[in-house]
Symmetry: C2
Subunit: 136 residues, 2 copies
DNA sequence: GATCCATAGGATAAATTTATCCCTATACCA
DNA sequence: TGGTATAGGGATAAATTTATCCTATGGATC
């Protein structure tokens, strides 16, 4: 297994939160689970830009960090459902704040972000579904 | 210059916000500037884990994304001051939410984050200063 | 004259994260 | 038999981000 070589910075709340959300799809996954999209295959369909592999890895990390719980059904084909833990739910206001700020400033952000000369291409293929939040 | 090879995902607010905050020190820098720590040298002292180089790069990106403004004083030695733009200020509630959630769950998070077998070492050397928010 | 201050940024190495590809297992369906 | 669905995860390549090191500026200070 890969072993980190640089000390992880966990000084302030900001860095701790950043570490938990550190992963391309983690906020989107938490958001999806909060909206009752609980099976990996559903998440994969919801986030076409992601691969099964990455989602699996990031779900595992979220689970290891205590944000989500995994329930495996002894069935075939396999069935797995994830749900937010209590602390996972407590993180949702942060996710919501990020989501809302980004949406509220969408046109501006799309412009400045895409203006970056390093960026050649952008995609809007993911996170297309917005639903009501499942009752926690 | 480095050119991105993978399309940037900018579908939902979540990803847009993530892109703006994408950088090890960006949330901490925004937080610092909001607390009237406006000169790069001050930020460097505040964040001992960071190098001058990285802070410079990330400040430049924040500026390019319109979150901060740079004022250069024609002096020697050079003097530069950063300040939050209007949209930068509007992002502070998100930063605050991250900061507060992380602080509120500090002991739990320090445990689970450090439990990761990939992690060999952690550091708490940065973000040590908390002050009152400068009036926006 | 050497050194430090404060800032900017080039060049390159190293670290870390993502992407790709592949294989496992089993029930069901045509 | 062959393909589909569902989930897990190894191995490795590629992409991206950070870290290191170095050069430049001009005045002040030792």
């Amino acid at each position: 297994m890969y072993e980190r070589k640089t000390p992880l910075t966990i000084d302030c709340g900001l860095h701790l939160t950043k570490e938990v959300l550190n992963g391309k799809w983690k906020p989107a996954l938490l958001n999806a689970i909060s909206m009752d999209i609980k099976r990996p295959s559903e998440m994969l369909r919801l986030l076409p830009g992601a691969t099964r592999r990455v989602l699996g890895v990031q779900l595992k990390e979220l689970e290891a960090h205590g944000m989500i719980e995994k329930k495996t059904y002894p069935q075939l084909p396999p069935k797995v459902e994830y749900s937010l833990t209590e602390i996972g739910w407590s993180l949702m206001p942060v996710i919501d704040a990020m989501n809302q700020w980004g949406d509220a400033n969408r046109s501006f952000l799309e412009t400045v972000v895409a203006q970056d000369p390093r960026i050649v291409e952008t995609t809007k293929s993911a996170c297309l579904i917005y639903r009501n939040r499942k009752a926690g």
